[in-house]
Amino acid sequence: MDVLSYFNYWVVVVLMMLGFFIVIARANLVKKLIGLNIFQTSVFILYISTGKVAGGAAPILTEGVTLYSNPLPHVLILTAIVVGIATTSVGLALVIRIHAAYGSVNQNDILQQDQQC
């Protein structure tokens, strides 16, 4: 088994877990969103790695080139990136409103205030 042939997938798993760790272990809401972003990018890397063909060219038809990388993952991911920033900004907007209402973006402070009510 060639180690390098799975290296990309393992990096995807490591990145995904680092993002996941930030989401569950950090109390700051902005930090959680950054963690979610890393998680999301790891999925992008998985898709793009799957689409790569060794020795292939970028999927723009050129004379004399016969082997191209798979264009389908590229389409899925390039739209996902722009959708991702749009949804992240919804999350950030919610963070701003939570800060206005609670005076904090720390999950523990917010839960404490909720329990006191």
């Binding site: 060639d2 390098l4 042939s5 799975y6 290296f7 997938y9 798993v13 490591v14 990145l15 995904m16 877990m17 680092l18 993002g19 760790f21 569950i24 272990a25 700051n28 902005v30 950054i34 963690g35 890393i38 990018t41 890397i45 793009i48 790695s49 689409g51 790569k52 063909v53 060794a54 020795g55 292939g56 060219a57 970028a58 999927p59 723009i60 038809l61 050129t62 082997l67 191209y68 990388s69 264009p71 389908l72 993952p73 590229h74 991911i77 390039l78 739209t79 990136i81 722009v82 920033i85 749009a86 949804t87 900004s89 919804v90 907007a93 963070v95 701003i96 409103r97 800060h99 720390n106």
Partner: protein, 330 residues
């Protein structure tokens, strides 16, 4: 060589993500996010995904850290807290999940193999026939705007909805829309003279480049999504250096908010025109007798709709966040 670059970039990505786990300050985290975006864009280039790299470079390294910065500026950096007890439960959970996933990857086809299941289904058809059927060299654009145009319509709708959601969440009583600042001449307190001069030279080229990416997307890497983000970043650069009231005088929020809807409408109407003629939704053969020419016109219209919506939504989101920041300031 390619494999070496690939491995180095991936290791740098892991290092940046690791730094993001360790670092507590929000400002440092934001900067690391920008580095992370730039690295992943470079990685996408080595994977032949030039269109994706284009998008990620504009979004991941530019717009996304900027929105984070504006959020951090609006809510205040806060005191970085001392590290609490080690979250043992989280570490155990992450390790177990990661180990299971790594076992799962062993069933994946080896990286780069040409006969992997992902390359044997519909992709060969796109690569072999799109030159004939659609007549444009960039297969990614063919798939995005023609073969899977219905998907793309859904994605544009999601982006539009997200823009509306940001407006609704950040709306304050007595204020409609993203930002309605009052302009007073010379209100900008701290002029950044060098940056302002340089940006004045740069912004026309950024906007021109966005238009090039928009209309050249059929032949090279590019298209509506990339062009929209680049166009918006030109406007945002102006806003950052001259202040929100000035940029709102140049690019009026009410106009941008309307344009966000116009883009989606243009896309949807392009599809409906085919239905009026009794053909399926988004069938471009309605535009010309020659099917390849019809595809050209259809893709042009659809990409224009995408570009207008993406540029407007990103600008509107920037306005809404910058408005929060200005309110926090004054």
């Amino acid at each position: 060589m390619e494999l070496l670059v690939n491995s180095v970039l991936l290791m740098l990505l892991v290092a940046t993500a690791g730094a993001l786990v360790v670092v507590r300050g929000l400002l440092a985290s934001t900067m690391l996010t920008s580095v992370y975006g730039l690295l992943s864009a470079s990685f996408f280039v080595t994977m032949d995904a030039v269109d994706v790299a284009f998008t990620e470079a504009a979004v991941g390294a530019g717009v996304s850290p900027l929105l984070l910065l504006l959020t951090v500026a609006a809510i205040g950096r806060g005191e970085p807290r001392a590290a609490g007890a080690l979250p043992i439960l989280a570490i155990v959970l992450v390790t177990i999940t990661g180990a299971l996933l790594i076992i799962g990857t062993l069933d994946m086809p080896p990286f780069g193999s040409a006969d992997a299941p992902a390359h044997t289904h519909v992709a060969p058809r796109y690569l072999q026939l799109s030159g004939e059927e659609i007549g444009i060299p960039n297969v990614v654009t063919s798939v995005l705007a023609s073969y899977r145009a219905f998907d793309t319509l859904g994605e544009v709708l999601v982006i539009f909805t997200a823009g509306v959601a940001v407006l609704l969440i950040l709306a304050t009583p007595g204020q409609r829309g993203s930002a309605r600042p009052r302009y007073t001449p010379g209100s900008h307190s701290e002029p950044h003279t060098i940056l302002q001069v340089v940006s004045k030279i740069l912004i026309p080229f950024i906007l021109l480049f966005a238009l090039y990416v928009q209309f050249h997307g059929e032949y090279g890497p590019g298209g509506g999504f990339q062009a929209g983000v680049i166009f918006a970043s030109g406007i945002i650069l102006y806003g950052l250096l001259y202040g929100l009231p000035t940029v709102c005088r140049v690019v009026r929020p009410a106009v941008v908010e309307t344009l966000a809807a116009v883009g989606v409408l243009l896309y949807g109407t392009t599809g409906l025109l085919a239905m009026l003629d009794g053909r399926p939704f988004l069938d471009y053969s309605v535009f010309a007798a020659n099917p390849v020419l019809g595809q050209h016109i259809g893709i042009l219209l659809v990409e224009l709709g995408v570009g207008i919506t993406v540029a407007s939504v990103i600008t509107v989101i920037y306005y809404a966040f910058a408005n929060q920041f200005e309110m926090a300031e004054g």
